[in-house]
């Protein structure tokens, strides 16, 4: 078993419960797997309760209810109530679609701590285009209701080439809606975003301009609004410390019960990710091949193996290494020390060429039809 560590791993702190892959939106940068339509058998309520109980016992405390759109699960209030009784801090990560004031109140009573609402752009036209669903006005209404009922409100906007020019308007919208936190998430190129990268990746000049505007805003709203800025790693020269280190902190459970060390790990070959239908969370976390695969530094090849920064970034992201170099054991090619670093510039050049092409390829929206075509 590669990378098996002898010491007992640190327990999970963060549990991401992907309740379903069903979603009324069609965002072309969705992090769900391209072939999500293959996984139809969702865990039932009792399965989820068991998973929450087992992970909490190990020490997980932050819990994200995600998806897909978690509101499509009718048992969400019941799961939230169970989570509250166990002492989790529960985050609902939602598009806001289908969220009514009645549900917001019911979830609060069940013990939900926080609601994160995603908005795709600062204008109705672009929001509804990217979401593939007329949803802009409803999302803004939901943001108001979330505040009204005393939740901390996090607004999440995924940033890419179609909306990066709206940065000033996006910031103004966050302020107008009274967001307590604003997550500006530069697109990470996995799943559907990888497929659509030529259409989504902004230029370096666009990034730099947007970042200066966001930075100035951050200082201006200090003490009132916190900004989480997810860096665009294609324009960095060192990789992100992905997942805070494989199997150290984060545990994702996919809708069908497969346990993943990160929510993209399903696309990595040969990990044999285990299911909570077959094993306890403790067995999965401590003993499974998948969770031990990239623990520690034994798995590393050069240049990571002899690098003095290997304990800082853990070699970066394995999904990115796999998608861009074909080998998940390679150094994340974002790193300028990687012999494959050139693929990043090729991706940037390819995206730039795509903007100039006479017939720009259309975005592939995330929906069942396209999922079946791509799997």
């Amino acid at each position: 078993m590669a990378g098996l560590t002898k010491t007992k791993p640190t327990p999970p702190r963060w549990l991401l419960a992907e309740l379903t892959y069903a979603c009324p939106l069609q965002c072309p940068y969705c992090s769900n797997p391209l072939d999500y339509t293959k996984y139809q058998n969702e865990l039932d309520t009792d399965d989820w309760k068991r998973v929450l109980t087992q992970a909490r016992k190990m020490g997980a405390v932050q819990l994200g209810f995600s998806g897909g759109e978690p509101l499509t699960r009718q048992d969400l209030p019941e799961l939230v109530k169970h989570a509250r009784e166990l002492g989790y801090y529960s985050n609902l990560i939602t598009s806001g679609y289908g969220l009514t004031e009645e549900k917001i109140i019911a979830l609060k009573e069940a013990g939900l701590d926080h609601i994160q609402v995603s908005i795709q752009a600062s204008s109705q036209e672009l929001n509804d285009h990217i979401a593939g669903t007329a949803s802009f006005n409803h999302k803004k209404e939901v943001a108001h209701l979330v505040k009204k009922h005393g939740y901390p409100m996090v607004l999440c906007v995924v940033i890419h080439r179609e909306n990066i020019h709206q940065m000033p308007e996006i910031l103004a919208m966050a302020e107008e809606l009274g967001a307590d936190y604003l997550e500006l998430a530069n697109t990470q190129y996995y799943g559907w975003a990888h497929t659509n990268r030529d259409q989504l990746l902004p230029t370096k000049a666009q990034f730099e301009k947007a970042e200066i505007i966001a930075q100035a805003f951050k200082e201006q709203v200090a003490g009132k609004m916190k900004i989480y800025y997810v860096v665009p790693d294609f324009y960095e020269d060192r990789p992100k410390a992905c997942m805070n280190g494989w199997g150290t902190t984060f545990l994702t459970i996919a809708p069908d019960g497969v346990a993943l060390p990160c929510h993209s790990a399903r696309e990595l070959p040969g990990l044999d990710c285990p299911s909570v239908k077959d094993y306890s969370v403790e067995e999965i976390w401590n003993e499974s091949k998948a969770f031990n695969f990239f623990r520690g530094t034994e798995w590393m090849k050069e240049p990571c193996r002899s690098c003095d920064e290997k304990d800082k970034d853990f070699g970066g992201c394995h999904c990115q290494a796999y998608l861009l170099t074909g080998d998940m054991h390679n150094t994340d090619p974002v790193c300028s020390k990687s012999p494959h670093h050139g693929v990043i510039q090729e991706a940037i050049d390819s995206a730039a060429a795509s903007t100039l092409a006479e017939n720009e390829k259309p975005l592939v929206f995330r929906n069942s039809k396209n999922s079946k075509l791509l799997s």
């Binding site: 801090y89 005393g150 901390p152």
Partner: protein, 90 residues
């Protein structure tokens, strides 16, 4: 932003202070984040209940731990807590 000595201090309604058995420590929980607290920080925050002012928190802790001269340390910590939004004075 600094502590107003006249007003009572209250722990934020949008954060949660909780004992974590697995970690054997108190933590502050907020959207997608967690801060681990040492024992003295946790003891200070537990007294931020919306009734006590800075001076009362200092005197209560000095009495509880039979010590004196805590004013500077407690003030410094509460200023940080205020800047981070863990406490407020309304």
């Amino acid at each position: 932003m600094s502590i107003n000595p006249e007003l009572p201090i209250q722990f934020s309604r949008t954060h949660r202070l909780q004992w974590e058995e697995a970690q054997q420590k108190n933590v502050i929980l907020y959207p997608e984040g967690m801060v681990e607290l040492n024992q003295s920080s946790a003891e200070i925050l537990k007294l931020c209940d919306g009734t006590r002012t800075l001076a009362q928190i200092v005197s209560d802790l000095e009495a509880a731990f039979s010590t004196s001269g805590l004013t500077n340390d407690i003030t410094a910590f509460l200023e940080v807590a205020l800047q981070n939004g863990w406490i407020n004075q309304n």
